[in-house]
């Protein structure tokens, strides 16, 4: 039996790429021997589903390796270069290193290596997938051609069947009786969460709205988190709750209960949280950077990438106070994810892999 194994850099149930790989694996297993291997040891949430990379055995030239590119690790590059299997690359985008050169040089170097790796792997890659037009355009710059634009394995409805977390619901009611703005993302500098803290401060101080802010997501940069907390203390009206990493049930609860989902990032190759928010019935306000406009279509209130804090605050204010706008965004969001992401995106991916396997 031919094998189609996937390689990812790190693995966690809370990581979008891991979830995409897991979803693809289910489809791949109907025809191939298929496992997921992670360079960094998988965390406990997926340790039964994902194998450490050292367990990956050598295959033949009939087998296929699907590599999910989002970062750069020289040892992993070398491993990929040494393989005899056919190589399929799924590009999820690499954050520009400029955001981290000063604050986290090691991380910046790894990001820079990721882009260098794209050049090194280009002659070896047999099939190329990009999960947005924006990502496909970047790959063209690195010499790739015949790129398939496909958000393979993306499932914004994955939390539908998750029960709400009763304890969290109670806490949210207590903390934010009149509602809260939700930001879901890793807490790292280019996600620009300070904009959300400043916006909630202005909503409360200028508009006298009794609204709070919940920031949910793993904290990956201690210095940045410290400064966000300092900003919260410095702005007297900023009513903010840092949730850290959440369970799926907690995340589903947050999406269902928030007044509005707010996307603040400076750079996105494909933004999944706003799609999950739409699927859960939350209106979305988001900065139109990178692949965001094509991802959310006309189903969100999309701010110009250059929009500054007063404009963003006004957009949030409009959604929170204008029920017709709110209902329109909720309806459009639900329709958008139903129409564009209801079909199994894995089937097209499998079709392309089948062509490669011949």
């Amino acid at each position: 039996m031919q094998s189609v194994h996937q390689i990812i850099v790190g693995a966690s149930r809370r990581d979008a790429i891991t979830n995409m790989a897991l979803s693809l694996r289910e489809s791949l297993r109907s025809q191939y021997k298929s496992n997921i291997y992670s360079y960094h040891p998988p965390d406990e949430s997926v340790e039964d589903d994902v194998h450490p990379i050292h367990e990956l055995q050598f295959g033949s030239s009939n087998d296929i390796i699907v590599y999910h590119s989002s970062f750069g690790i020289p040892k992993l590059t070398a491993l990929l270069q040494a393989r005899s299997e056919k190589l399929a690359l799924v590009y999820h985008n690499i954050t520009p290193s400029s955001y981290y050169v000063r604050s986290d040089p090691d991380f910046a170097a790894a990001l820079e290596w990721g882009r260098h790796e794209l050049r090194l792997l280009q002659p070896l890659v047999n099939a190329t997938f990009a999960d947005s037009k924006f990502n496909a355009a970047e790959l063209l710059e690195y010499g790739y051609s015949n790129i398939v634009e496909l958000a393979a394995g993306v499932n914004p409805h994955r939390l539908h069947d998750e029960p709400s977390d009763e304890k969290l619901t109670k806490e949210l009611r207590g903390h934010f009786p009149d509602g809260f703005i939700l930001v879901v993302s890793q807490v790292i500098p280019h996600k620009r969460m300070e904009l959300a803290i400043e916006a909630v401060h202005l909503l409360r101080s200028v508009h006298r709205l009794d609204i709070g802010l919940v920031i949910a997501g793993p904290q990956r940069n201690e210095g940045y988190l410290r400064q966000l907390q300092a900003l919260r203390s410095h702005l007297p009206e900023a009513h903010v709750l840092f949730m850290g990493e959440t369970t799926d049930s907690e995340l589903a609860t947050l999406y269902r209960r928030c007044s509005v989902y707010f996307g603040t990032s400076d750079h996105e190759g494909l933004a999944i949280p706003p799609l999950e928010a739409m699927s859960a019935g939350a209106p979305v306000v988001i900065r139109g950077v990178g692949a965001v406009p094509e991802t959310v279509g006309n189903a969100a209130l999309v701010a110009s990438p250059t929009a500054r804090i007063c404009e963003l605050t006004e957009m949030l204010y409009a959604v929170v106070t204008n029920n017709e706008l709110r209902d329109t965004l909720i309806a459009r969001g639900s329709e958008h994810v139903q129409h564009n992401f209801a079909n199994d995106t894995s089937s097209e991916f499998i079709r392309r892999i089948n062509e490669l396997a011949l």
């Binding site: 002659p123 200028v206 957009m315």
Partner: protein
Amino acid sequence: MIFVKQVEIEEILAGIQDTVARRRAEGLYPIGLENELEAEFAFMMSLTHRGEAERTEALALLLKEAISASREVSGLTSVNSRIPFIGIFHRVIRRLVARQTRGLAAQQRAVNDAVLGIVEHLVRDARGREDADYRMVASLSKHVLDRVAVIDHLYFVVTELETRIRKIEATD
């Protein structure tokens, strides 16, 4: 399908900037608010840099402040008081003990000067090491980049050779 009264999102977006301008004119958004918030957070983030360079600079800045504070140690405190006429009392007391407090202040300044002199040496030392580190890192980076360029070149040569070998094998 959910039916709701649809509003024109584009119109709302277009109106947002007018709303911001109107609120600015009303004084709800003070002039310079955005610049102020952006500059403030940029400054906060600049303090999170973990490089030695920033630490040495911060140390130098603290030293400067300490030197200036040390020069102000006079041994005399303010004689102002919120209670009427008590200022006169403070002035009398200060004059009575001035000889002693000025002497103590001079001793304190001498200790400060000695400690600050040591710190000054340490900052100079750190700067010197930092400059040497910079030179070494620059030189090492140059060598590493040269080697990487060679490896890249060799990698492409090997790939091309492998392709040729495969072609030759295929024709055989």
